[in-house]
């Protein structure tokens, strides 16, 4: 199916790296491999960030019936350069009562933990930086460490609104992390491994022309939807951006950050969005595998980035379309709807695995999931009656 040329183009970055590393003595080669991989990640993903920022501003602008930025460069494509220069030359204001060390460290910790997540994503065939046996667990662990950075930012600014935004952000991230984890467990159950390259290889098969991606199965579609919703809430993206909403809480935990530190938070948020899209692509959309069996001659890294861009466009689309969710609606949604639905999806996945091949398992699983969606949804959309507010203080 592949010619030698197609296989070489597919592995071109690996071949380039091996050629560069072959100039070094054998003892230094593993170290050089790692360094080249890290430099590649640090080069590629922030450039993607720049592109995504332009896409987002133009996209959300068009949804709101206006042009986005169109002054800097053709069609506004050089806008990120202007943003970068602005962020660098702005004055870096640190409040006098703020905790200077923690205030300085918070954006760095955020950026570090977000970059660590990229180490396990299989960007192409054989193109992951580290093939860990528990790669998925590593990614989720790094996402958990991100919450700490958010808290550090909010507390160190010594500002009521900042702290309130940080507490809300941490509560939101903790709740949606459970949903995120459980929706990925379905994929681990079916593919039998927590290592991301192996999950992609399990999806790299074709029945006829169509690929065996997990999103094309009923349990996979449900898990993918849960994952996308939880991913949006984990990275504090609209419509779940109450912690950083400009109109509610004056930008929450990044109020007291100006200039380049704010830019680092911005970069961290968008990089987290890209890495969450990358993980979603790997788990549900087949990673680097081609969408049709006659398209496998195209390079694997091209398909990975195409799918990640598709996911990012969906993120931007949802941001432009949906209004912000209120904090209590957000928490109710996570604990009372998403979590039971995800647990039910786990059961349905097990049912899928243990019923044999055939049309029966499709019908049964789809019926259970649709019935659960409708029932849980109708329970949750009952009209609520709010009484007078009661305050409780810890003494």
């Amino acid at each position: 199916m592949h010619g030698a040329l197609a296989a070489n183009v597919d592995q071109i970055f690996i071949l380039l790296r091996d050629w560069v590393v072959s100039f070094l003595p054998a003892a230094l080669r593993p170290f050089a491999n790692a360094v080249i991989g890290v430099v590649a990640i640090i080069g590629v993903f922030p450039s993607m960030f720049a592109l995504v920022v332009v896409l987002e501003r133009k996209g959300v602008g068009r949804i709101q019936n206006r042009y986005g930025p169109n002054r800097v460069g053709p069609y506004g494509l050089l806008q990120p350069i202007a943003d970068g220069i602005k962020a660098l030359i702005k004055e870096d204001i640190v409040p006098s009562r703020a905790d200077a060390l923690v205030h300085f460290l918070a954006p760095l910790v955020l950026l570090i933990t977000v970059f660590m997540g990229y180490a396990v994503l299989p960007v192409g065939r054989n193109m992951e930086l580290v093939d860990m046996d528990a790669g998925l667990l590593f990614f989720i662990a790094m996402g958990a460490a991100t919450e700490l950075a958010v808290f550090m930012a909010g507390w160190s600014s010594r500002n009521k609104y900042s702290l309130l935004g940080a507490m809300r952000a941490v509560a939101q991230m903790i709740s949606y992390e459970v949903v995120l984890l459980l929706s990925t467990v379905t994929v681990v159950m079916i593919s039998g491994s927590m290592s991301l390259p192996r999950i992609v290889e399990a999806q790299n098969r074709y029945t006829g022309v169509f690929p065996n991606w997990y999103v094309f199965t009923p349990w996979g579609l449900a898990a993918c939807v849960m994952f996308v919703i939880a991913g949006m809430a984990e990275t504090n993206r609209s419509p779940f951006d109450v912690p950083e909403g400009e109109s509610e809480i004056i930008a929450g935990y990044h109020i007291e950050y100006s200039g380049f530190k704010f830019a680092i938070f911005f970069i961290g948020e968008y990089l987290a969005m890209i890495s969450m899209s990358g993980l979603g692509t790997t788990l549900f959309l087949g990673g680097w595998s081609a969408p049709f069996s006659f398209l496998t001659w195209m390079p694997s890294w091209f398909w990975f980035f195409a799918k990640v861009f598709f996911c990012l466009i969906v993120y931007i689309w949802i941001r432009g379309t949906m209004p912000r969710v209120r904090q209590d609606q957000l928490m109710n949604f996570a604990w009372k709807f998403l979590l039971p639905f995800t647990l039910l999806d786990l059961l349905v996945t097990a049912l899928w695995r243990f019923m044999g091949e055939g049309w029966l398992r499709w019908v049964v699983t789809t019926a259970i999931l649709v019935a659960a969606w409708v029932l849980l949804g109708s329970v949750e959309s009952r009209r609520r009656h709010f009484g007078p507010r009661r305050y409780r203080y810890a003494e």
Partner: protein, 166 residues
């Protein structure tokens, strides 16, 4: 002992010392988080992947956040602690010395008691999974009961407060 081990130990010890000696309680909580991270790195350097990653996920992602929330909600967050060293430090040193002797003795004796254990057993995720649902399924079920009891307890505490105010 490799340089990586010394580096990770330095990080862990620095975090633990800072957790004892710093003035503000929230800084101590953040220093303890650094000590947790050092422990996770130690696990990872010994090829115990699952233990290391779960240490990051649970200790840094949940326990540290819990400690910080507890500090923040009890109004001791802003004020410095005052006296860092307690007046009963001699008793503390004695207890720490006894604990050190017991643990160190147990570790050094273990080489004599278990001579056939190899240095680094290769345990994969699959083995851990099989062990959890195979040999250790009773503790798993008891943990599920414990979690359910904790959740119900939390709900009861919250509901009772609403009922008490009426």
């Amino acid at each position: 002992m490799s340089p990586v081990f010394y580096l990770i130990s330095a990080i862990t010890l620095a975090g633990s010392l800072a957790a004892m000696l710093l003035q503000r309680t929230v800084h101590c909580a953040l220093a303890v988080t650094v000590a947790f991270a050092g422990l996770a790195l130690l696990f990872l350097s010994l090829d115990a992947e699952f233990a290391g990653l779960v240490q990051i996920l649970i200790y840094i992602g949940a326990v540290a956040i819990l400690v910080i929330f507890a500090i923040l909600l009890t109004r001791s967050a802003g004020a410095p602690r005052g006296e860092v060293f307690s007046p009963h430090w001699k008793a503390g040193v004695a207890i720490a010395a006894v604990l050190f002797v017991v643990l160190g003795g147990a570790l050094l004796r273990s080489i004599a008691v278990l001579p056939h254990e190899t240095a680094a057993p290769a345990v994969t995720m699959r083995d851990i999974g099989n062990a959890i649902v195979g040999r250790y399924v009773l503790p798993l079920e008891i943990m599920a009961l414990l979690l359910t009891a904790a959740t119900i307890g939390g709900v009861i505490i919250a509901v009772l407060e609403i009922g008490g105010e009426k």
